[in-house]
Symmetry: C2
Subunit: 201 residues, 2 copies
């Protein structure tokens, strides 16, 4: 029972990966990249520290360009992040060996988030199971599990060495001469997992 799990190296996607192993799944972590930066390597480093297999899936740069257009037009990144996440899920789900895709989205997330029709559509179009281990957990539960399991580093997004979509999106905005701080929230803390606190797998 192999599952391909979208992975940023953050605590939500790390906790989800751990839950999948506890349910008996063999977990392959997948980080998407648009090839602008090699920040996927932070996810790989965390994956290795945690003992997971890891692969990088490259998405066409056009997707990031279009996401940047959306972020500029909207003046905030929500639709852009949602757009990238949907394309990332589709890219992984369409790989021939993939039967199950997973991510670390939470009950309390606004974006990225697939509502029920979109979740079912993903499953139906690509004949996969879509698993979201954190969807039924609130922030208290996620916090108590994360604190038990992981050593976590928390910093502001601009500073953090991380492998989520934001980093390349901010980079592309800068390339276009736009200050990401005009689009992204000013104080936006992000997490990166550094290793196990309590050996989890």
């Amino acid at each position: 029972m192999l599952v391909h799990h979208l992975y940023s190296g953050g605590k939500d996607s790390s906790l989800s990966a751990w839950i999948l192993t506890r349910l008996g799944y063999e977990v392959r972590l997948v980080t998407v990249s648009f090839g602008l930066l090699d920040n996927w390597s932070f996810a790989r480093e965390t994956a290795e520290r945690l003992g997971f297999e890891h692969q990088v899936v490259y998405l066409p740069r056009e997707i990031l360009e279009r996401a940047a257009d959306m972020a500029i037009k909207d003046g905030h990144p929500n639709n852009a992040i949602q757009f990238i996440h949907e394309r990332a899920l589709e890219a992984v789900a369409s790989m021939p060996e993939v039967e199950r895709v997973s991510d670390g989205t939470r009950r309390d997330d606004r974006v990225p988030f697939l509502d029920l029709p979109k979740a079912r559509s993903l499953e139906d179009r690509f004949n996969v199971a879509y698993i979201r281990p954190l969807l039924g957990l609130g922030y208290k539960t996620i916090r108590e599990l994360t604190e038990r399991l992981f050593v976590v580093e928390i910093r502001e997004s601009e500073e953090l060495e991380k492998a989520d979509y934001e980093v390349e999106l901010r980079h592309l905005l800068r390339e276009r001469g736009i200050d990401p701080l005009e689009i992204f929230p000013k104080r936006h803390y992000q997490s990166r997992v550094l290793g196990w606190r309590e050996k989890g797998i």
Copy 2:
């Protein structure tokens, strides 16, 4: 980390209980009863076969009476089941020793189901964490886990020896001279877990 988990003896609530143990929680199964029937004993029997602690929480009969009124007025049981489930969660969440409540509701369920504002309201009003281990799983995933873990008996609702709200609600409708088959769907298959297939805890 003790969690009180609403339990019917069916496969969804059994699978959820197993997931909670896999996440490191100590699980106490709770079956609600209105005191009309002793069908909670089917849940207890399954709980014992699976090796879980089990307790019965009695709810006021007025709740079932009001649910019956709703079912009769609506001509279908959805609002009634939703109403009972919300009262059951509140009753368990309000018990002084309870810090975490859980249930086996699924992503694809229409009822019973707490939307995000209701889930947060439950957590805030009673200062508990509300955990739904199946919320992020689709039917394929639930099926593959259930088939691996449990020996399951599937029958039509009218026949099944089970401990969910429906049984006492149907009984009360019959007491009022109403045929439950006029209100509940005609072919409504329900499951009851008989034991472990693969030893899970």
